[in-house]
């Protein structure tokens, strides 16, 4: 599970993959339609889509002969949940500093 999570963060660390995520978040797209937005080859886009699919950040949908890619919203939420955990650590830390400041001022 840990290695899987790590993969997700690595997947979205790449600027092209982040751009793909942004595009398929609007509506499902085929690899050729996606390729038009980038300076890379269709094969290059397919490689990125493969990584995103493996991390379950996007999913495939077959429509006739075409494969459309769309965003897996739950996975993106998972990343935000991780960051939310981190936020809580800082919240606790700052509450402790609030208490300390109050104690010092009373002295």
């Amino acid at each position: 599970m840990n290695s899987m999570r790590r993969d997700i963060f690595q997947a979205i660390a790449d600027p092209t993959r982040r751009a793909i995520i942004a595009l398929v978040a609007v509506h499902a797209m085929t690899p050729s339609a996606l390729a038009e937005h980038f300076d890379t080859t269709r094969q290059g886009i397919s490689k990125h889509l493969k990584i995103l699919t493996e991390c379950q950040l996007v999913k495939q949908e077959h429509q006739g002969r075409e494969i459309y890619y769309q965003l897996e919203i739950d996975k993106m939420k998972e990343i935000d949940n991780w960051l939310e955990q981190f936020r809580k650590i800082w919240e606790t830390r700052f509450q402790q500093l609030d208490d300390l400041l109050l104690t010092i001022k009373k002295k």
């Binding site: 840990n2 999570r5 790590r6 997700i8 963060f9 690595q10 979205i12 660390a13 600027p15 982040r18 991780w82 960051l83 955990q85 981190f86 936020r87 809580k88 650590i89 800082w90 919240e91 606790t92 830390r93 700052f94 402790q96 500093l97 609030d98 208490d99 300390l100 400041l101 109050l102 010092i104 001022k105």
Partner: protein, 167 residues
């Protein structure tokens, strides 16, 4: 008394930065002291239920803070802050690291750069912390460490408990 103190927590996944802004009901000098004097850092830095213990503190450019966060079982998690630039009482920059008790840096774990800026806001102190990681994967590793050190799971348990009480 309840105060509405500013608290921003912004992650920039494109720049691998974490920006945390927090307002405190104290003047800038006092908050600066709490961030830069080990006897004060010991009293707040490690989030509950962990506690902070300083092994050595040398707050100057090129100096460091070597400390441990200790969990309720007595397990020590060692950390190091290396100070790069200091401008009292306005800002300092530093590099963090995971170490052992001998201050040897764990090279397998990520290091991040910190820029901590202090300012005055309507008589209160405002602290902005910008943490820059080399990659998002590094940030994930740091969050994972937080889990292992029991910082997060305990907080989750507390949230659950509070929810039960409220019901």
């Amino acid at each position: 008394m309840k105060h509405n103190l500013q608290f921003d927590f912004i992650t920039d996944k494109a720049k691998n930065t974490l920006t945390i802004r927090r307002e405190f009901l104290a003047d800038q000098q006092l908050v600066w002291d709490c961030y830069t004097k080990s006897e004060l850092l010991n009293q707040w830095f490690a989030p509950k239920p962990l506690t902070t213990k300083t092994k050595s503190m040398d707050f100057r450019e090129g100096g460091h803070w070597h400390y441990a966060m200790i969990d309720p079982n007595g397990t020590e998690y060692w950390g190091l802050t290396e100070y790069l630039k200091i401008e009292p009482i306005d800002f300092y920059t530093a590099l963090d690291a995971f170490t052992n008790a001998e201050r040897e840096i764990n090279k397998d774990l990520p290091r991040a750069e910190w820029l901590v800026t202090f300012s005055e806001k309507d008589g209160n102190a405002l602290v902005e912390t910008v943490v820059t990681y080399k990659s998002l994967a590094d940030l994930e590793t740091v969050i994972q460490m937080g889990m292992e050190q029991g910082m997060i799971s305990t907080l989750e348990k507390l949230d659950e408990l509070l929810l039960t009480i409220k019901k």
